[in-house]
């Protein structure tokens, strides 16, 4: 039975936004922790660590997020765990974000002039102190703009979790569309909501980028 698209449908779609936001937050926080380790490994003195982290980045940047979601989703069965779309989505997106943030932050760490590391080493600071007090604070300033840019990509990426059956914004749109068959309005609304979430972040990233460019032009 096809019914009219109404206020309750709009409410249902808007309520699903929290799952999109929650999943984005989990993946971003998990990815930030993972990404920090990947970036440190990628710019470390150990050849083995650099190789492993480079391989990790290549695999996750060289394969589709959709396939990564499928692999983690069906991978739960391989490990004899019950199928759980939220868990699979959270793990897959965390790995995905770790690879991308790791690569972004590696670039930021390497952008810090090597004289800084050399000076810190000359002062006999330990690796931990060198990173924590000298390199990372300067790298962080460079990293903010591309990190916010990646956050937009991550939020959009959560829409793919609808395909493994996690009910976030896009899946809520599909459910409403199946009942009302008004795809033009439903997916238009869903797109508009993503736009409202992502556009301010994109503008913010661009403003930071412009400011950064000024700071580095001499």
């Amino acid at each position: 039975m096809i019914r009219q698209f109404g206020p309750s449908d709009i409410l249902f779609i808007i309520e699903a936004v929290r799952w999109t936001l929650l999943l984005s937050a989990i993946a971003f926080i998990g990815g930030a922790i993972g990404g920090l380790f990947v970036a440190l490994a990628r710019s470390s003195g150990s050849k083995a660590l650099r190789r492993i982290s480079a391989g990790f980045i290549r695999i996750f940047q060289g394969t589709p997020l959709l396939m990564q979601l499928f692999l983690f989703y069906f991978g739960l069965t391989v490990l004899n765990l019950p199928i759980n779309p939220l868990l699979a989505a959270a793990i897959a997106l965390t790995f995905h974000a770790s690879a991308y943030l790791g690569e972004i932050w590696r670039g930021s760490i390497e952008a810090v002039p090597s004289g800084q590391t050399e000076a810190a080493t000359a002062l006999s600071l330990s690796y931990r102190d060198r990173m924590q007090h000298v390199v990372l604070p300067q790298a962080a300033r460079i990293a903010v703009a591309p990190t916010v840019g990646f956050l937009v990509q991550l939020i959009k990426g959560t829409s793919l979790t609808s395909i493994i059956g996690f009910t976030e914004l896009t899946r809520a749109g599909q459910i409403v569309n199946n009942a009302t068959f008004d795809p033009f309005v439903v997916f238009g609304l869903v797109a508009a909501i993503y736009f409202i979430i992502c556009w301010p972040l994109s503008l913010y990233a661009r403003r930071l980028e412009g400011r950064m460019r000024l700071a580095f032009t001499r």
Binding site: I59, P64, L66, L71, L79, S159, L160, S162, F184, A191
Partner: protein
């Protein structure tokens, strides 16, 4: 203990290779058309017409701030509601071109803005017409400057193209999905399909390096 079963994957490996070919074809078509859209978009974005500027700006912002999955749903399911019905493969190609065109417009625009003004003035002083100036003095150096950004966007496009399987367009991911529905060896199938995508992205990045050496193989200005 889970029992791995790769037999269905290897029995149907030719099918998966055919899927890889479909993905290459689709991505390649989307790259060429997307590059054309990008150049036209960037030309409009750097032109003096305020209307063109606003239209292309809105296009770029809307596409870059909404998920590809929603874009393709809107195109494939939404447009028939206003009387435009598309074959899934055509819808997939159009959606990919529209998507990569928006990113490519921004990348090309950045490249155009990186071309020094003196170079354009030099072209004018040599008596070149506006189209010649755009083609030889602006566009080629612009694309050279942004080549790495553009090609990584193209590789990302190839990976994104797996999403077209959701509207049952023909590509590697949809062949994987068909095989999964027939054999239920889900993890094994997607493991191999993911591996094929990884090989494809390595192939594309090798190919882009060859193209770079062939097309932009002249000394830098400074």
């Amino acid at each position: 203990m889970y029992h791995f079963n790769f037999t269905p994957v290897f029995e149907n490996f030719d099918l998966l290779l055919y899927g890889a070919w479909l993905t290459i074809r689709l991505s390649f078509a989307a790259m060429i058309l997307g590059l054309i859209v990008s150049v036209l978009g960037a030309a409009a974005r750097t032109s003096h017409s305020k209307v063109l500027h606003a239209i292309v700006g809105a296009y770029v912002e809307i596409i870059r701030n909404t998920p590809f999955l929603v874009q393709i749903f809107f195109l494939y399911f939404g447009l028939p509601a206003i009387g435009i019905s598309l074959d899934p493969n055509v819808a997939a190609l159009i959606a990919l071109v529209i998507n990569v065109g928006a990113y490519g417009t921004e990348i090309t625009r950045a490249g155009i803005e990186s071309v020094p003004n003196g170079q354009i003035e030099a072209g004018r002083a040599l008596g070149l017409g506006p189209i010649q100036i755009f083609r030889y003095v602006i566009l080629k150096p612009a694309l050279r400057n942004v080549y790495p950004a553009m090609t990584s966007q193209f590789i990302y496009l190839m990976l994104t193209s797996s999403v077209v399987s959701t509207i049952s367009a023909n590509d590697l991911a949809s062949i994987g999905a068909d095989l999964n529905a027939k054999t239920f060896a889900s993890f094994e199938i997607y493991l191999v399909v993911t591996g094929i995508y990884l090989v494809l992205s390595l192939l594309f990045s090798g190919l882009f390096k060859l193209i770079q050496n062939a097309v932009f193989n002249y000394p830098a200005s400074r």
